[in-house]
């Protein structure tokens, strides 16, 4: 009877612990990757046309990218040899897309995209977070390479290149106090040359993966985590 009771107590205890472990594991599994919240449809424009050209979003929907491509890592390391780039797996925050729109005017076309990366509790500190964007395009600018790191400074591999810009795009109070990090980009290209018959159109592609990363200034190490892919495609008729 005692044994039975012991077994009974033990069973209750074991079950409770088991449930707790399961819950914890499920939470870990659920929080293992970043998530993407798509924008309000009112903030999405799939296509835009002007001057005999059509610009479309490519990909049409912003997707999470859970790996770091080897050629992207190689591009980062080649462009910024003073930094050390490593892949750090997945973070747990949320990519909250605000808008994603194709744009076209008489001179050229492109896309605009802005989002907030809402940090999870388990993510690196907000202060250490950085955006690193790698571009794959058929029309690199200024003799750049593709894939290439998108850095307007050319000095640091990060999208925002100075401390004041970093600070103004980080909101420590957002996301229930976890903080968020704002990204905004409106790339564009002049339209490609007109098609040469019999080709029905000429085209140009621009795609980017925006990675969330953390930076250790003491060791100059950039740890790359998840990303989101976005871009546009131009067809000229």
């Amino acid at each position: 009877m005692k044994n039975l009771r012991f077994i009974g107590v033990g069973g209750w205890f074991t079950q409770s612990v088991g449930v707790l472990v399961c819950v914890a594991l499920m939470e870990l599994i659920a929080a293992a990757d970043t998530t993407v919240t798509q924008p309000n449809p009112a903030n999405v424009r799939d296509n835009a046309s002007a001057a005999g050209a059509n610009v479309s979003l490519s990909p049409a929907v912003i997707n999470r990218v859970g790996t770091l491509a080897q050629n992207h890592l190689a591009a980062m390391q080649a462009a910024y040899p003073d930094y050390k780039f490593v892949y750090g797996g997945s973070l747990n925050g949320n990519w909250l897309i605000n808008s994603y729109q194709a744009r076209a005017d008489n001179a050229g076309g492109g896309a605009s995209m802005d989002l907030r990366y809402v940090r999870a509790k388990t993510d690196p500190s907000l202060a250490s977070l950085r955006f690193v964007q790698v571009i794959d395009t058929s029309a690199p600018i200024n003799g750049g390479k593709s894939p290439g790191v998108d850095s307007s400074s050319g000095i640091v591999p990060f999208y925002y290149f100075d401390d004041s810009t970093e600070d103004e795009n980080k909101d420590p109070g957002d996301g229930n106090g976890m903080g968020s990090y704002y990204f905004d980009d409106e790339p564009q290209r002049p339209y490609p040359a007109p098609p040469v018959p019999p080709a029905p159109f000429s085209s140009l592609g621009w795609g980017a993966i925006l990675y969330i990363a953390s930076y250790n200034d003491a060791t100059k190490t950039v740890t790359i985590y998840d990303g989101v892919s976005w871009g546009f495609h131009i067809q000229r008729f």
């Binding site: 001179a107 492109g110 980009d185």
Partner: protein, 191 residues
């Protein structure tokens, strides 16, 4: 109706009268006005096109600590926007040289010689051109935004001893917005 018809046929509104008066006026003008003697190309030439400068919307401030420098030493300038109107102003951050230009001239207005890096940066200047990172920045009414800090002119120009002037230009055409601003001009000496 009848009266009107009569006037058209006999009065001063008659087409014959009108043509006669116009011809007389032309003759008088031709004789009296020396402008008719001016070559047509000069007379009708379009006024010299002045480059746009939207300083009523925004100021581009060029700041230089000091005015006298030693040859071979760094000469640094800061460039900032100052929104002087009552509405927020949109400027674009896409790498300084894509939509900004610094121009150093001698006292006669001749541009100093660009270095290799200076030529490279100048070739990137492309208002409305191709962009990768391209961030829309709102400068609030009355706000000041630093866009270029400690830019060393000697990296972009070959500057020997002499008197120079420097000005900055911002020009961009993006998403239906167009802006061109020329900064104040700062004179400096190199000894």
């Amino acid at each position: 109706m009848g009266r009107g018809t009569g006037l058209m046929g006999k009065g001063p509104c008659c087409p014959v009268w009108g043509i006669t008066i116009a011809a007389v006026l032309l003759c008088v003008l031709e004789a009296a006005c020396p402008l008719w003697a001016t070559p047509q190309s000069t007379l009708w030439a379009a006024p010299k096109k002045r480059k746009r400068n939207d300083t009523d919307i925004c100021k581009l401030n060029l700041k230089m600590p000091g005015r006298k420098f030693e040859a071979g030493k760094a000469i640094r300038v800061d460039v900032e926007f100052e929104n002087i109107c009552l509405e927020p102003l949109v400027i674009w951050s896409s790498g300084f040289w894509l939509n900004h230009m610094l121009v150093v001239t001698d006292v006669k207005g001749k541009e100093a010689t660009l270095t290799k890096l200076g030529k490279e940066c100048r070739s990137r200047f492309s208002p409305g051109g191709a962009r990768d990172s391209n961030v829309r920045i709102l400068v609030g009414p009355g706000d000041v935004r630093l866009v270029g800090k400690g830019i060393d002119l000697t990296k972009y120009y070959k500057l020997d001893s002499g008197k120079y002037r420097v000005q900055a230009v911002y020009e961009e055409r993006m998403a239906g917005l167009s802006l061109r601003i020329v900064s104040n001009r700062v004179a400096f000496d190199i000894k």
